[in-house]
């Protein structure tokens, strides 16, 4: 039960919901950039939310299915195509063996997720499947996919021949979740105040809230460098290093902002202007270099409410996915 990487594409790695519990050793959490899409990919493929999934960027890989598989593709739209047939996203897909999945065209988004029913056969490192590229450990041999890699997945109890349509390479199963407002207003990103926010000059507060910030080409899984008006603090005392988190917005000495993303380091010493709310990290993770961020300030209770609501709806979707899949295979 395996797939093979014919062409690796730009950056493809194994991820999951992140590696926690080792922060005091400097071991960062990593994990999927867009955890909403990653969770849905697993649900649609009938997996637990924490299974290992593939996170890919554009240009995407070419993947040969050496066995029949139930998969799902979520997140960014890279025009996923099986042989010559365009595949629907955010939907469970039965894939016939000896077919090739490829991604010919970038439509929107930055990161696409592929889940395979049963999950990939990969050892956990420190309780997580996520790839730590810096330490070269975790995930698939601690590295991105390369040509010729073979990823095994766990055997599925599904009897595919009974479910596939004769002469067809793919069958999309008839349930598709409503992803609602998760990616609406893609450039409007909510944040809550960071510790040093009150030190911003009045002009800088205005600049932060009224201007657009462009994501620089140097942005990656570690952080988004942005270009906007130069922001200034009233008194810019040197800070000692302290903990940071996914979504922390730091002010660099050159007056520009960096937003820490999934592969961020555990600690940092720059002023913390704000923190992107968790419910908006998925849409931020789908913005590409050259795209625009419009910061909107909110408060902690709104942030918590929006995250709980997002996860509540995901829970409902998961139950529906399990029910549907059980009905299909029974």
């Amino acid at each position: 039960m395996s797939i093979s990487i014919i062409k690796p594409g730009l950056l493809g790695t194994i991820q999951d919901m992140g590696r926690y519990g080792y922060g005091s050793m400097g071991i960062n959490c990593g994990g999927a950039m867009d955890k909403y899409a990653a969770q849905l990919a697993n649900m649609l493929a009938g997996n637990d939310m924490g299974e290992a999934i593939m996170e890919i960027h554009f240009p995407g890989p070419q993947i040969l299915f050496e066995q029949n598989a139930l998969i799902s593709i979520t997140g960014a739209d890279f025009s996923a195509t099986l042989n010559d047939e365009l595949l629907p996203a955010w939907q469970p897909l039965l894939i016939r063996k000896n077919t090739i999945l490829h991604f010919p065209e970038l439509k929107n988004g930055a990161r696409c997720y592929i889940a395979v029913h049963g999950g990939f056969y990969i050892d956990k490192w420190l309780n997580s499947y996520s790839t730590n590229l810096k330490a070269a450990v975790g995930g698939f041999f601690g590295r991105k996919f390369e040509k010729g890699d073979q990823l095994c997945f766990k055997e599925s109890p599904i009897y595919f021949p009974a479910l596939m349509k004769p002469g067809k390479d793919v069958r999309a199963l008839g349930w598709k979740p409503d992803i609602g407002s998760t990616y609406q207003y893609p450039n409007e990103i909510y944040f809550i105040e960071g510790k040093e926010y009150p030190l911003l000059t009045d002009n800088s507060v205005n600049d932060l809230l009224e201007n657009k910030f462009i994501i620089n080409p140097s942005s990656d899984r570690m952080g988004y460098n942005t270009k906007g008006p130069e922001l200034i603090l009233q008194n810019n005392n040197e800070m000692i290093s302290s903990g940071v988190s996914f979504g922390t917005v730091q002010l660099l000495p050159n007056g520009q902002l960096i937003i820490l993303m999934a592969d961020h380091q555990t600690t940092g010493g720059y002023p913390r202007i704000g923190h992107i709310i968790s419910a908006h990290l998925p849409k931020l993770a789908q913005l590409r270099p050259g795209e625009i961020i419009q910061f909107r300030k909110t408060d902690i209770s709104t942030a918590e409410f929006m995250l709980c609501e997002q996860q509540r709806i995901l829970g409902i979707i998961q139950n529906a996915c399990i029910d549907n899949l059980n009905k299909l295979v029974c």
Partner: protein, 238 residues
């Protein structure tokens, strides 16, 4: 009287308690004691703790906490109260004093790539820099930035050095100085610290039981070795 600490959200899934914005041994002891207290008084939804010089950050799952404890106010308020409790109850004990570890360093020019520049800037000899760096016992205050990267302090005042303006690629094992701190790069990484030598000591071993060689609370001595000894991968000399 105002609190000797400040607790603030680090986003909607993390919170920090800060005891000050300076490097201070008693504060760091207290931070480590608080982390220990939280390990013993763990609550559901606590995912990770990050020890820093004078602050402790908790990474938590607000959805799980909401479901499990249904706090009247915000989840942050709930975590805030736990951090207050940790501050009140955490006691610094002598068993949290770490190990003394001796680290071999080769200070040859080819490894200590910034030694000459530092000597010129500080108007001292390279020999003095090496003497001062090896002449003190440092405390490991925190592990951060990269897996296993130790933040140690404080170097002799004569060695205080500002970070480079532009980070450069740094070789694994490089020993550096930034401000009053000294540290070791476990990996190839861009870095702005002034590099004065290199060690063969592996700070991070992903498949070992301890994962990292040093932990907050340990004390470190550097001693000088030749290039040959360094390259021979001289191991720990307890």
């Amino acid at each position: 009287m105002s609190n000797p600490y400040c607790i603030f959200p680090l986003g909607d899934s993390a919170a920090t308690i800060e005891l000050g914005n300076y490097i201070n041994e008693p504060l760091n002891h207290k931070i480590i004691a608080m982390q220990r207290w939280l390990t013993q008084n763990c609550f559901e939804g606590l995912k990770d703790t990050i020890v820093a010089y004078s602050s402790l950050s908790l990474i938590y799952d607000p959805v799980l906490i909401k479901k499990k404890y249904n706090p009247a106010g915000t989840v942050f308020g709930f975590v805030h109260n736990i951090l207050q409790e940790a501050y009140r109850n955490a006691v610094v004990v002598s068993s949290q004093m770490g190990d003394l570890i001796k680290i071999p360093v080769c200070y040859d020019d080819e490894f200590g790539i910034d030694l000459n520049a530092m000597a010129a800037q500080k108007k001292i000899t390279k020999e003095e820099i090496i003497q001062l760096h090896t002449g003190k016992t440092y405390r490991v205050y925190m592990i951060g930035f990269l897996p296993g990267f130790p933040y140690m302090a404080e170097v002799d005042e004569k060695l205080f050095a500002v970070r480079k303006k532009e980070p450069v690629m740094v070789t694994p094992g490089s020993v550096g100085i930034a401000g009053s701190q000294t540290g070791i790069y476990p990996f190839n990484s861009p870095g702005g610290w002034n590099i004065i030598g290199r060690t063969s000591l592996q700070l991070f071993e992903p498949n070992s039981k301890n994962l990292v060689k040093l932990k907050a609370g340990d004390r470190v001595n550097f001693y000088r070795v030749s290039k040959e000894e360094m390259l021979a991968g001289l191991q720990l000399d307890y």
